[in-house]
């Protein structure tokens, strides 16, 4: 990937290839799925890479469109997930099967890395998008904050902390956003049961 990208001129590079060229050791995987480019980036190199995404004139990702998180704890382990892959439903006679050459991959081991923090960047200058996934180890759910680069990251990170328990190191005000402070647990984690009750809290004053 990196070698192929190095041959082309920098103007013709896709955003992901440009990042991979600049930070070859930070990029764990790079894929295009359904026309959307994704980079999987190491947590430790993420602060530096993010600054590059914003400042590089060929990228200029001035908008952080979305920041969310995915918990891969039960990924592909659902009772109904396996048979589909082996035998997809037959197509009607008038349809030709599409060649599914695109292959999605997470880029890291599902067992060691439980969470992915997912960033969707958009450049209003170049009108291109890039998705960045930063995998986090199960034992170390921490990631540097981006709120000093993109002001919009402030609330997105508070929400991710609230619902997933991801700690954004350096965040100025990492409080819960949608839920209340007395809430126990992080509800969008896959091991949070959907029927779980919360302790009642009385009035504050």
């Amino acid at each position: 990937m990196t070698q192929a990208a190095a041959g082309a001129t920098s103007a013709a590079l896709t955003p992901g290839a440009r990042v991979a060229q600049r930070f070859p050791e930070a990029v764990l995987a790079s894929l295009t799925y359904r026309g959307q480019e994704t980079l999987v980036i190491q947590r430790d190199a993420w602060a530096e890479t993010a600054a590059f995404l914003k400042s590089d004139p060929a990228l200029t990702f001035d908008v952080l469109m979305d920041l969310s998180c995915v918990d891969y704890l039960r990924f592909g382990r659902s009772r109904t997930s396996a048979p589909t892959l082996a035998t997809p439903s037959p197509l009607p006679y008038y349809m030709k099967p599409k060649e599914n050459t695109e292959k999605w991959a997470r880029g890291v081991s599902m067992d060691d890395y439980r969470f992915d923090v997912v960033y969707h960047f958009y450049s209003s200058v170049h009108n291109h998008r890039l998705r960045v996934r930063v995998p986090l180890k199960t034992t170390d759910v921490k990631i540097p904050t981006l709120s000093d680069l993109w002001a919009g990251a402030n609330w997105f990170e508070r929400e991710a902390w609230d619902l997933f328990g991801v700690v954004f190191v350096g965040h100025p005000n990492l409080r819960r956003l949608l839920l209340y402070e007395e809430f126990k647990g992080h509800p969008l984690r896959k091991d949070y049961p959907i029927t779980k009750r919360q302790p009642l809290i009385g009035p504050l004053n």
């Binding site: 359904r34 592909g76 109904t80 009607p92 956003l177």
Partner: protein, 465 residues
């Protein structure tokens, strides 16, 4: 000096000095709660404002009062069962949410909907955008005292809601989108009804325009208040009319077209000053552009009226099943057979069904005649409905971006190959605006909170999910 338990910028940190400090008097900033339930705030949100006299020096926004676990609930059911939840995200323009979610799942499945369906989605999105803008402009005008405008605009919205009702069967909780298509085709005289409704809406907009745009009171309240610069707006991730009011012509419909927007001519209006007045003007112009889109789409939409006579004999479902048991399924496949299903199914019956739905049996429910009439249709229906079967996109992820009425509405769907979405993430457009509202309001007077908050068009359903 900040009060105990107030998680807010303290007076020491705020850069606006208190008014009496010049003459050596001890002054104190005042904390005023707006909300969560306040008559001038449509939506349940709390703003703890810190005031120096009338000037706002700090705002702490508390959201989450309408949080109802949309994303967690979505992981629980099948792909199609998410659609009714998406109605409740932005309940002023629910059709856009429906289609945005469907688009994400369709891309995961790698299916393309029919061209007629693309146009139907475009038309319904634009009608929703008009209703949303009418609500936003009308409500914020009402909060500034222009109650007449509110009533006029709701009158116009009512005509458009009647269209939505004619198409989807409901006014608010429409659930009209389907993965791979829409629920039903457009009703018979939809084009005429729409043209008439748009004509009437134009008259209303003209009236409201003459009441507001050059109104001295309205201009004084709106001009120069709630200013946000281009750079700050982009940094906050603000999109939609709020960003365009600051002079950035960013619109997903133009930048990265979806549905049928690339075949339609329209303009993206922008403001210059980034204040409430420019945002008002942008919204007014966008309604006109949306009407332009609808009119063009009604001309371009392929697939005219079908010449199928449904006035023949009524065949109830059980009779169809009996016919099928005797092996008489061949005739039922033909559109010439005189079948009159229940009137509530109009538009989703055979003939219409194929026009608005992708030919994709892995995702689209069969027409009702097939479900009741032959074993293939019944099995297909069963395979899509029963737990453990259903729509099963291959492993992957997709982020669909559509232009909602408030800005970019994103659905990030992750599939692990099972019949349930592994993760559904919504990027609500007013979330980023609300995260910036503290900064935007700081420096304005307390009375300016009302028009600025009105121009955000905060929708609790999508903000808190």
């Amino acid at each position: 000096m900040a009060q105990q338990g107030m998680p807010i910028v303290s007076t020491e940190e705020s850069n606006v000095p208190a008014a009496g400090s010049q003459v050596g008097l001890e002054t104190r900033h005042m904390f005023i709660n707006m909300g969560p339930s306040h008559p001038a705030m449509h939506g349940i949100v709390q703003m703890v404002t810190q005031l120096d006299g009338e000037i706002v020096v700090g705002v702490d926004v508390e959201i989450g009062y309408l949080h109802r676990c949309f994303e967690k609930e979505s992981e629980r059911g099948q792909y199609n069962t998410v659609i009714p939840y998406t109605d409740r995200l932005n309940y002023v323009s629910p059709l856009i949410n429906n289609f945005g979610y469907c688009l994400a799942v369709e891309r995961l499945l790698d299916i393309e909907v029919t061209e007629r369906c693309q146009y139907i989605r475009t038309i319904m999105c634009e009608i929703s955008r008009i209703t949303d803008h009418l609500t936003c402009v009308g409500a914020s005008a009402m909060e500034l005292g222009a109650f007449t405008v509110f009533l006029y605009m709701l009158k116009a919205r009512e005509w458009l809601y009647e269209l939505v009702e004619a198409v989807s069967g409901a006014r608010l909780t429409i659930s009209y989108g389907r993965v791979g298509g829409v629920k039903a085709d457009l009703p018979k005289d939809f084009a005429e009804c729409t043209r008439h409704a748009l004509e009437e809406t134009r008259k209303v907009l003209l009236e409201c325009d003459s009441l507001l745009t050059r109104n001295r009171i309205f201009m004084d309240r709106m001009q120069g208040t709630g200013v946000v610069t281009k750079e700050r707006a982009l940094s906050y991730g603000i999109t939609g009319p709020f960003l365009r009011g600051s002079g950035v012509a960013l619109d997903v419909r133009k930048a990265q077209p979806y549905f049928a927007y690339d075949k339609i001519k329209f303009d993206v209006p922008t403001g210059r000053h980034g204040d409430n007045y420019d945002r008002y003007l942008v919204r007014m112009e966008e309604m006109e552009q949306s009407m332009r889109i609808v009119e063009q789409a009604l001309v371009q939409i392929p697939g005219g009226p079908l010449n199928i006579d449904y006035e023949g004999n009524v065949i109830p479902a059980d009779v169809m099943v009996d016919e099928a048991k005797m092996g008489r399924t061949a005739g039922m496949k033909s559109p010439q057979v005189h079948v009159k299903p229940d009137p509530t199914l109009w538009g989703s019956t055979r003939g219409f069904h194929e026009r608005v739905n992708a030919p994709e049996k892995r995702a689209v429910l069969p027409a009702k005649e097939d479900t009741y009439g032959n074993i293939e249709g019944l099995m297909n229906h069963f395979k899509l409905i029963m737990i453990g079967h259903g729509i099963k996109p291959p492993i992957g992820e997709y982020y669909s971006a559509v232009e909602g009425a408030n800005g970019e509405l994103g659905f990030y769907v992750v599939s692990d190959g099972s019949d349930r979405p592994y993760r559904v993430r919504v990027r609500p457009p007013c979330f980023t605006i609300m995260s910036a509202i503290g900064e935007i309001l700081t420096g304005d007077t307390i009375a300016d909170i009302v028009p600025t908050f009105g121009s955000v068009n905060m929708i609790g359903g999508e903000l808190d999910r």
